[in-house]
Symmetry: C2
Subunit: 340 residues, 2 copies
């Protein structure tokens, strides 16, 4: 579908808009960056998820697309509240707690400097929340795009991967986070309850899945690199095994990824054992990591505060290679693609 | 909910963005106008609606919000294709025909000068299509807002009302439009089949409901009125009985609406008889008319090509009055409100 759609748009001359995490509207002055993403109950989040958690997740999943493009939140006091505007549509069953949803959404938006500007409410059997974000970036800002990775670049990942996928598996086994606040309790399925390090890792994984945090500061650092160091990048939303090929395709290059270098969260391997999942499979294919992946010239190092990890390199040969246990393997086939 | 939400936003200083059909982002140069609307299967459209019809309806329901604001499609050849950008999210059951949806959407967008710029695909039990439109308007453009109607203004409606509501009732009785094209056949329920004027009116009503056409040219004419004649307005999406009070509230005025002046489509009264519906109730409350309603100074007349009808007047007393059979009645209570 995506190939056909891009072909159709190419005939209309608009193909460059569909390859990235957000759409770019160059203007004068500045550039408008716009993105949209939905959260569907029973698909992206549990059917019974707290409305506040849904609101926070909706915002950060969308902000992650802006982070991937390298949008920078304005530093000036005057415009800090308007660097980004949100439109929200909610299609909800009757029992949905709209006030709780919007209370949390307004708080989270205020913390992120996002202004809620409008939207639409409808009823539906299936709870579906959709957010559009529009961020205005000043003249001189350069987007981080999926295209532009150069052979020889180092490949980086901006945070741990797989933890969110482990959280999703825990939710499918009955784990629950009860409310939006930082101190809300995570309930684990019976076989994982307790106080040990695996239970702690499990609780963090559930939180990580339900409360992602977009890497806006890392994205802004990336977009501010000088001409010779400007990176290519995207956010890992469908898992590294699905997302990194998109970076390679848009850049017309190959990639080599070293599985041993994938950044994993504390206790992740032990948690995977308890879940009877392979840690590398989950790290590559679990999805919804919402960390950035990017290619930078060899020798350019992101500041240590971002805790990025070098995980491989960009190759001239248009081939995707996974190095695992010292052996070069075919890229894991995960099927499935989506529009952007 | 809407009142509480506006209160919450007012404390944040953003209330002016929520009162209109679209959000306004004043920039320099020009203004960005943005709106979002969803179509949910089983709520806004039949579960089994042709994917192409869904695409066309999604576009025009959203364009109607832009028409309500008075956005003008650029006349210059150069920018005609980029006056407006669309982001689309689809949450769909497995059997959904994505290619048909996007084929028709791209055709309809091209006809309207709208460029599809990106979006997101997800799976869901309930088909939900959401579109965001972003239209850039040049310096000097003035929006048509819900506020600004003045006592003494004449109240106008830009097209027939109630026909779409009759179409919805026919769909609920089993009527169907089979495909997207102009010549696609409307199937009527057994009791209405045939070749008479009532059956013809019924077929037109089903088409009107499923294939609304946004009044963009009328909107552009309204926004181009000179200073002393600048109108207030909105589009009738929830029915005149629900929408006109919003115009009155935002303008801080009252309205008097003459039911006898409501513009009705050919054969509408006879069709209502066959549907056992009261024509005026349906004209006021049927909803989804997607025609504009607006207040203009007495004596200013829209060009006859728009086929507008003067239906009442704006009053200083903050009271809503319906004149029916020569008697002043209380405004019909239709319940229900939505976010914008």
């Amino acid at each position: 579908l995506i190939g056909w759609l891009r072909g159709s748009l190419q005939r209309g001359g608009k193909a460059d808009l569909l390859g990235d995490d957000a759409a770019l509207f160059p203007g004068s002055p500045g550039t408008m960056v716009a993105t949209v993403d939905s959260q569907v109950a029973g698909v992206h989040v549990p059917e019974d998820l707290d409305a506040g958690l849904l609101a926070a997740r909706l915002l950060h999943v969308n902000l992650s697309d802006l982070a991937a493009m390298g949008t920078a939140r304005s530093r000036s006091e005057e415009s800090a509240s308007t660097w980004c505007h949100a439109l929200v549509t909610l299609a909800t069953p009757e029992a949905f707690d709209h006030r709780h949803f919007f209370s949390v959404l307004l708080d989270e938006c205020a913390a992120a400097g996002v202004a809620l500007a409008g939207g639409d409410l409808a009823s539906s059997r299936t709870l579906t929340a959709t957010m559009t974000l529009m961020a205005h970036q000043p003249d001189g800002w350069r987007p981080v795009r999926r295209s532009g990775a150069r052979p020889g670049d180092a490949l980086w990942i901006g945070g741990t991967v797989g933890e969110s996928g482990a959280g999703l598996r825990l939710l499918r086994r009955g784990a629950r986070l009860t409310a939006h606040g930082e101190r809300a309790h995570v309930f684990l399925p019976p076989e994982l309850r307790g106080d040990g390090p695996v239970a702690d890792a499990a609780r963090r994984a559930v939180r990580r899945h339900l409360r992602p945090r977009a890497q806006l500061e890392l994205g802004a650092w990336l977009s501010s690199r000088p001409e010779g160091e400007h990176p290519a990048g995207l956010d890992l939303s469908d898992g590294a095994a699905r997302d990194l090929p998109r970076l390679a395709r848009e850049s017309g290059v190959g990639l080599e990824l070293d599985a041993a270098e994938l950044p994993l969260s504390e206790g992740f391997t032990e948690l995977c054992a308890a879940l009877e999942s392979d840690p590398i499979d989950l790290a590559l294919g679990g999805g919804e990591d919402y960390v950035l992946a990017f290619a930078l010239p060899e020798g350019v190092q992101p500041p240590t505060r971002f805790r990025c990890r070098r995980v491989g390199r960009v190759r001239r040969e248009k081939e995707l290679v996974l190095v695992r246990n010292g052996k070069r393997e075919a890229w894991p086939e995960m099927g499935w693609d989506h529009l952007g």
